[in-house]
Symmetry: C2
Subunit: 394 residues, 2 copies
């Protein structure tokens, strides 16, 4: 049930149930409500696991949809059920935070293809009684967003005050603005791009090859054999994790410092702190993420190309938009460099859209959008406050 | 035998034999001539496989030593015996080329720990009758250079007109200048650094973890069981290969072009050219390179820290040097950025060394030193010609 300020509302009850394993609400779409995919196939039945924070106002006009990144999930501002750690955007979302849950109703769902309760490779296919595995059709960013729109329909939220997210989340934000322009009042894509670059596809392919090279991947059937390609997934995460940081941040944080030793050991142990850190990142990741989901998420990003979907001209994608955009990039982000964010700005300018753009000076790399970044908080807080005034949310 | 211009020379014959498997000359150092390693251990016996090009002059003063990079070898300017492809620096080395074999006598040996004929993890340990495997002590850049100096002693080449190399080769060049200053007339370190960065250690660790994660690695004993961690080594190569290029070069070369298809397949095949290219790089690499050698080579680079070896002050390493340096970097090289090369220049300036520095504008990334780079050729050709005049080689 959607928590609203409307006492005893007349709207029909939605089919939401608690899914204790993920501490999330889950909405189920039946065989008669298939999710139509870009590849031409359908997913039905479909489950979407989601979290909400704050209260939906009487006008149902204060909803902010947060789109999560590749390895994120719906646990934005509450503890993660597997790791017990705080949600991934507690700095941004909460009472008095830039996305103020005293003012806004925040929704975030695990994307289709994910592994935190929404239908994905690791969830059971009711038709076979086994996990979907890699029999699940390949998912695109547009598919993810289409599922999110179906969720909002169920929740009877006609439109969104804001759609916001970083990285793969930013791709979804752009897709929302393109596919559902009338449902998006403001859009905040952060540290993203309108298409995945050649270098980024290359890094994703390395991660996928690391997973499928693991003997325990078993052609994607590992869940049926009680195994897990832990080593391959850890290597994929390690490679990706380097791309989320920056040369400068690694130098500042670790440099050539040794790990719990005074001298090098002339061996292959983790002599250096940066090695120890990376190994830890790899080993903890496999406890919370599904290897097949990693294949699907990376593929969705690789396939993302908004201009390609609109005759090769990005501006065409945004033609006639009335959404207000706030685009944020970070100087040291070499995975989604400012240049790619600026391309979006130029496309929006070409269709005379309402767009503001901020490049934030930081050495934290791509991960900056998840970190304590005062300038980003101030930017987004200010943008939302002004937009709320326009929308009469004061 | 060293080929010299000296007819019927009186110098003692060196113990050089043809090693048909590698088409290289091999010099063997006996039990009484151990290679002393930084780790405190020794390697004896030791074999060094090398190639020469051109003719040593009467004064034995025209020798250029080329130091190869991580996955390079001694086949600089002649066909590679395994791949049958031209040597890795045929653009730079040969008659009339910048390193002109009509004027200079060129030597390049496979480094210790390598896998092209010099003692390394894949060569037989005569004491056990089995490959050394990871029982071989860990090798440093200084160990490689010490072995090269032993080779030159055998060849009775007292000093070098030039030591030159890129990347890991550049590290050896710097180490030569520091450890044997009187034997190095000129030094040309290209696209390198005086220490391996935190980010570079991190990328190397990913590669190593990919190898040891492969079930066929067998704790490093794979050669004793007729297996080969092909998949792990291929993943390591793929990850590393991305770092040798640049975002711009990948964009220009591959962009989001599809491989032999008109539309995406909604699957995990290599839809994109860049994926196909990377997979090819991985699969061909494992045919010519030993996985354990990859561990040793990457570790040698990680451990490289010239300043660390000299009280934390890089300039101390070069104190009193009379070597002439020519340092070359590339604008798009993000693995060994210009900044790291400039640190070497600053250290040399601090000891009033003779140094010239050129940063070359190119989008080819780190691999630029292996490619057709007109400005690099002109720079090195000019530098060597001027130095040859000073040394009376005209």
């Amino acid at each position: 049930m959607v928590k609203t300020a409307e006492a005893g509302g007349k709207r029909p009850k939605v089919s939401a149930k608690e899914a204790p394993a993920f501490s999330s609400r889950v909405i189920k779409f039946g065989e008669d409500e298939p999710l139509k995919l870009d590849c031409g196939e359908e997913i039905a039945p479909l489950e979407i696991a989601y979290q909400t924070y704050g209260t939906l106002n009487r006008d149902r006009s204060n909803a902010i949809y947060i789109c999560h990144a590749l390895t994120g999930d719906q646990h934005v501002a509450s503890d993660h059920p597997a790791t017990k750690r705080p949600g991934w955007w507690t700095l941004m979302v909460g009472p008095g935070k830039p996305i103020d849950t005293n003012r806004y109703f925040v929704i975030c769902a695990n994307v289709v293809g994910g592994c935190m309760g929404t239908t994905g490779p690791s969830t059971l296919n009711p038709k076979t009684g086994k996990p979907h595995g890699i029999e699940l059709p390949v998912i695109t960013i547009a598919d993810m967003v289409r599922a999110q729109a179906m969720l909002l329909d169920k929740l009877e939220i006609p439109d969104l005050f804001c759609v916001i997210g970083g990285s793969m989340g930013g791709m979804q934000v752009l897709q929302w603005a393109v596919d559902y322009p009338s449902r998006v009042f403001t859009a905040v894509p952060i540290a993203t791009a309108a298409k995945h670059s050649s270098q980024n596809i290359a890094f994703h392919e390395v991660g996928r090859q690391a997973i499928v090279a693991d003997n325990d991947w078993l052609g994607g059937e590992y869940l049926n054999h009680d195994t897990n390609p832990r080593k391959g997934l850890a290597v994929a995460r390690m490679a990706a994790h380097i791309t989320y940081l920056s040369d400068g941040a690694l130098q500042r944080k670790f440099g050539r410092n040794l790990q719990d030793r005074d001298v090098i050991t002339y061996g292959f142990d983790a002599d250096f702190q940066v090695e120890s850190y990376l190994r830890y990142q790899g080993s903890t990741f496999v406890d919370r993420f599904d290897a097949n989901s990693y294949l699907y998420m990376t593929r969705a990003m690789d396939y993302f190309d908004l201009a390609g979907d609109h005759g090769g001209v990005l501006a065409n994608a945004f033609s006639g938009t009335t959404t207000r955009f706030c685009i944020v990039s970070f100087t040291s982000d070499w995975l989604f460099p400012t240049e790619g964010n600026r391309e979006i700005v130029h496309a929006l300018n070409a269709v005379a859209a309402d767009v503001s753009f901020v490049e934030i000076e930081t050495d934290h790399g791509h991960d900056s959008f998840l970190l304590e970044t005062t300038e980003m908080f101030a930017t987004i807080s200010g943008f939302l406050t002004a937009a709320a005034r326009r929308r009469g949310l004061d």
